[in-house]
């Protein structure tokens, strides 16, 4: 029999064994829980806000005049900035093209100018409307002289008075006299005032075109919109008035008027890109595992969990339904409860979304584009641009993408996409005559391509990598957003993703064996109890 003393000693022995086993666990839990609360310092390298010393343009004699035309002002600008015209005319903002290497290896000029998209499709034959966003004056047709520096629109980017506006269908010109476009009235600019109030571009300058691409706020990009100048951190930590207070050009650094950054809806090569890493380094996290992820995951993927956070963006566009009218023959316009147009006689049916979860694709910085005249595979969805890259591509990363899907016109006999003539007061423009045949014929003739006379509609996709609307840290993606059975990366199947991927055969086998062992144990145990009464 145990005495009190030995049972106490035994208890102490067992207790110390218990403590010895549990102590490492307690230490680990306390240690790692405490390290959670640390404030993570934001790492930022190379970031300098441009501080160009101010020049008071109101003191310049040449600007003390009333300018009749915008070109007169440009000439005045270039009289001092006498190399700038040459610089500007080499940029893609002016040329609307960049070098593009075709599948056959030829280098051609490709860009907004000659590419088609699945919004308003193409520039050719629709110049007056489209080139209202060109940094020039008078690009009305194929004859526009890209070597004439006086046609450069300096002030669309450099106006700091906030009064300058190009007319939407003015081929890049502002109005000469008061004019209405829809419900909006456009006034002739006060060039003298503007010329004396110029400076580096503000968000409003850039946004005048880029926020409203596709003919309305946030239509195209989804991640940049007019409200970007007045948002909080939850929308975009960089631009936020309570956050980085940054401007577009703080990241889109510019050298000799060549503005950094390109969007692969039209750009195609891994050049002139800007990246988060420029400021945040390639290993910005404290956590080693997260830093490893940066090799294959673009920053944007986790840090932009949703886009179109304030105003909705256009996700789908069905041209095939265009051409229906009210009973009285007037233009039919339908809007959703948020005021977004979901049907328009001239354009067809749209769908809009806000707080959109991006789709995810591999991207190595190179994109391929549909070139006018290329044959299409009519059995598949046509990719007007495709982002290149795969898991095995060492330079590829997973990026978030807005995919814009359309039903748009094509030539089923020639098996080519059609660039229709949409805008114009003439007899063939679709928005005036609502005849696809005529519109197709004129449009295709303007790019010197054949049209068979037959048209149909085909599904197309455009890929818009998402780069803006970076969320605050607490809203970034969590591991389980991707590492889970219902992963956000569902369509990237060329690699093994822990948490998402598993062998269903192995799981069935494994859990099957576990269950069988369990059943075996229960049967064996019951038999023992039954036969031997072991208890």
């Amino acid at each position: 029999m145990l005495t009190v003393k030995t049972s106490k000693r035994k208890f102490i022995k067992l207790f110390s064994l218990f403590i010895a086993i549990m102590l490492p666990w307690l230490i680990a839990i306390v240690y790692f829980n405490n390290s959670d609360g640390e404030e993570i310092p934001l790492r930022s390298i190379n970031f300098i806000k441009d501080t160009i010393s101010k020049v008071d343009h109101s003191k310049f004699a040449i600007l003390q005049q009333e300018f009749e035309t915008p070109q007169e002002l440009t000439v005045a600008c270039l009289s001092c900035h006498n190399q700038t015209g040459r610089e500007v005319m080499q940029t893609s903002h002016w040329k609307w093209t960049r070098d593009y290497i075709t599948d056959s290896g030829d280098t051609i000029q490709l860009g907004k100018k000659n590419i088609i998209n699945n919004f308003c499709i193409g520039v050719s034959s629709n110049e007056r409307r489209c080139t209202s966003c060109h940094i020039g004056y008078g690009w009305e047709n194929n004859d526009f002289d890209f070597t004439e520096s006086k046609n450069i629109d300096c002030i669309v980017c450099h106006d700091r008075s906030g009064t300058y506006k190009k007319f939407p269908s003015g081929a890049g010109y502002p109005v000469k006299e008061e004019k209405k476009f829809g419900k909006e009235i456009y006034y002739p600019p006060d060039y003298k005032l503007i010329s004396q109030n110029i400076g580096p571009p503000t968000n409003e300058n850039c946004g005048a075109c880029h926020f409203v691409g596709g003919g309305g706020n946030n239509v195209k990009h989804g991640d940049i919109a007019m409200e970007m100048s007045n948002i909080g951190k939850t929308v975009d930590v960089h631009l936020a008035v309570d956050g980085g207070k940054m401007g577009c050009v703080d990241c889109h650094k510019t050298e000799r008027h060549n503005i950094g950054g390109s969007l692969y809806s039209i750009a195609s090569t891994d050049e002139n890109r800007i990246s988060c890493e420029q400021c945040h380094s390639e290993e910005p996290h404290i956590d080693r595992t997260l830093n490893l992820h940066t090799r294959k995951i673009a920053c944007q993927t986790c840090h932009i969990p949703v886009y179109a956070k304030v105003s909705a963006t256009k996700m789908e566009w069905d041209w095939s339904t265009a051409g229906e009218f009210n009973e009285d023959g007037s233009i039919l316009v339908k809007k959703d409860s948020a005021g977004n147009i979901i049907y328009h006689s001239m354009k067809g049916t749209f769908s809009w979304e806000s707080d959109v979860e991006p789709e995810y694709y591999w991207f190595n910085g190179n994109a391929r584009h549909y070139l006018m005249g290329d044959k299409i595979d009519t059995t598949e969805v046509v990719q007007l641009n495709s982002l290149l890259g795969s898991y095995n591509d060492r330079s590829a990363k997973i990026v978030p993408v807005k995919v814009h899907r359309s039903q748009q016109i094509y030539d089923p006999l020639n098996e080519t996409m059609i660039l229709p003539h949409l805008y114009g007061k003439d007899s063939t423009a679709f928005w005036t005559n609502f005849d696809w045949n005529k519109a197709a014929e004129t449009g295709m003739r303007s790019v010197n391509l054949p049209y068979s006379g037959k048209y149909a509609f085909i599904s197309t996709e455009m890929y818009w990598p998402i780069n803006h609307m970076v969320a605050p840290i607490e809203n970034t993606l969590k591991c389980a957003d991707c590492h889970a059975r219902d992963s956000r990366l569902q369509n990237l199947t060329d690699f093994y993703l822990p948490g998402r991927d598993y062998s269903s055969f192995l799981d069935l086998l494994g859990f099957g064996i576990i269950i069988m062992v369990f059943i075996g144990v229960i049967i064996h145990g019951s038999l023992r109890i039954f036969k031997n009464k072991i208890f």
Binding site: I21, P24, K478, A484, P498, N532
Partner: protein, 444 residues
């Protein structure tokens, strides 16, 4: 085989076992969450804790490998095919019939053959594979890794197979712990370290004999054929007042006696060397410092390869007892009551003068060494023998009226007392007194 409560699992072993058990459960719990099987603490936490536990496990395993080699416990895992079939058929059929375990658990073979194979498999296959794939998994850096040819998928798949194997093992292992003596005895043993297990009887006996030899209060000695002392124990040294064993080892036995007593010992040794065994001979010893002591001595031949190679035996100190009973001796010697003492074979060892007178013998030597039957009438012999037998079993008798056969053949009556003589706990003989009542009776 006999059962004995034995300390079988040492502290580190238990610490290791339970820590490993916890780690395996924890790794399985977080691992299957990473696998996507369920969602409890979140993927991020699971990964974090799975990694931490993996490192902890690695540290534990390093210490454990060290422990296994230092203690030699690794030998427990050497696989054997012997009895493996018996073990399997025990679990399949025997266990239901209440059959005994086909193998015995001892501290040298803690594991049955099936356990050996399974545990060894865990140690050299499953756990290394889990560690290897686990750490590749942890440090695998996407496609720009040289091991990319094998890919994360194959690594993850092997790791998952290992996890299933471990999980299946854990379930079976926990269940099989209930097949011990009682359903909980194995688990209790792993907690406390103590379990009732089989011990080798012979080995156990040897261990105890060895211990008793070393620590006994009886002095042990051994000498070779030539009479040189080759081994003695502590008690012997103490009795002889030697401080250093080396002084006595190798010496001839004669150093232990006075010159006049050596002869007696020579005779004894000669007898033993002839194959006789001697029990309980009183002897006088000469201690190292020249003082004298008394002891009872036993001696038996040491037989090696069928030949007598020496002699060994024990001595029990009786010096103190003798001194203490000096007065008693005096009384006994001079008493008019007859005193006798016999050994356990009822051979007379000592008598006093009064006894000789009562039995009409002239000299002690006439009776010492003789069986007690010499003073008994043949008709009474059985009766007397039964009485003595009872005394030898521990009974004490007094006031028994007995008859005797004296030396000259005459018969007398006496009152007899008899009590056992203890040496330690053992009864080594009988002693008692007789009071002659022949005359008294005649007077009556």
């Amino acid at each position: 085989m006999i059962k004995k409560r034995t300390y079988i699992y040492r502290s580190f072993e238990r610490f290791w076992h339970w820590s490993q058990a916890l780690l395996i459960f924890f790794l399985a719990f977080t691992g299957f969450e990473i696998h996507g099987t369920y969602d409890f603490i979140g993927f991020e936490n699971s990964v974090k804790w799975h990694d931490i536990a993996a490192w902890a496990f690695l540290v534990l395993i390093v210490f454990t490998i060290f422990w296994h080699f230092v203690t030699g416990e690794w030998k427990q895992y050497i696989p054997t095919t012997k009895f493996i079939k018996a073990q399997v058929s025990f679990y399949i059929t025997g266990i239901f019939k209440g059959a005994p375990h086909p193998t015995h658990k001892t501290i040298y073979t803690k594991f049955n053959p099936l356990q050996r194979v399974i545990y060894l498999g865990l140690k050299i296959l499953i756990l290394p594979v889990q560690f290897l794939t686990g750490f590749i998994y942890m440090f695998y850096i996407y496609p720009d890794n040289p091991a990319h040819e094998f890919g994360l998928e194959i690594i993850a798949t092997i790791h998952t197979i290992g996890a299933f194997a471990l999980l299946a093992f854990v379930i079976a292992h926990v269940y099989l712990t209930t097949t011990g003596d009682t359903p909980l005895s194995s688990i209790k043993a792993m907690i406390t370290g103590w379990e009732v297990i089989d011990v080798d009887e012979k080995e156990e006996r040897m261990k105890h004999l060895q211990k008793s030899l070393d620590e006994s209060v009886a002095g042990y000695y051994r000498m070779d054929k030539e009479g040189r002392i080759i081994d003695v124990n502590e008690a012997w040294l103490e009795m002889y007042k030697y401080t250093d064993r080396n002084i006595v080892i190798g010496k001839h036995y004669s150093v232990t006696r006075d010159e006049k007593n050596v002869k007696e010992l020579d005779e004894l040794v000669a007898k033993v060397m002839n194959g006789e065994s001697i029990t309980g001979i009183p002897a006088k010893r000469k201690c190292m410092d020249g003082t004298k002591g008394k002891h009872v001595l036993s001696a038996n031949p040491v037989i090696e390869d069928g030949e007598i190679a020496g002699m060994e035996g024990f001595i029990l100190d009786i010096t103190e007892k003798e001194e203490f009973s000096e007065h008693m001796n005096y009384v006994v010697r001079n008493s008019s009551a007859g005193y006798y003492r016999m050994d356990e074979n009822k051979i007379i060892v000592d008598v006093n003068d009064a006894w000789l007178k009562i039995c009409k013998y002239g000299n002690k030597s006439e009776v010492i060494g003789k069986h007690c039957s010499i003073i008994c009438r043949p008709t009474e012999l059985d009766n007397l023998e039964t009485k003595f037998e009872r005394v030898l079993k521990g009974e004490t008798m007094s006031g028994i009226i007995g008859t005797r056969k004296c030396k000259d053949g005459s018969v007398g009556k006496h009152i007899l007392s008899a009590n056992p003589i203890y040496v330690g706990n053992l009864i080594a003989g009988i002693e008692g007194f007789i009071l002659d009542i022949t005359k008294l009776e005649k007077d009556l």
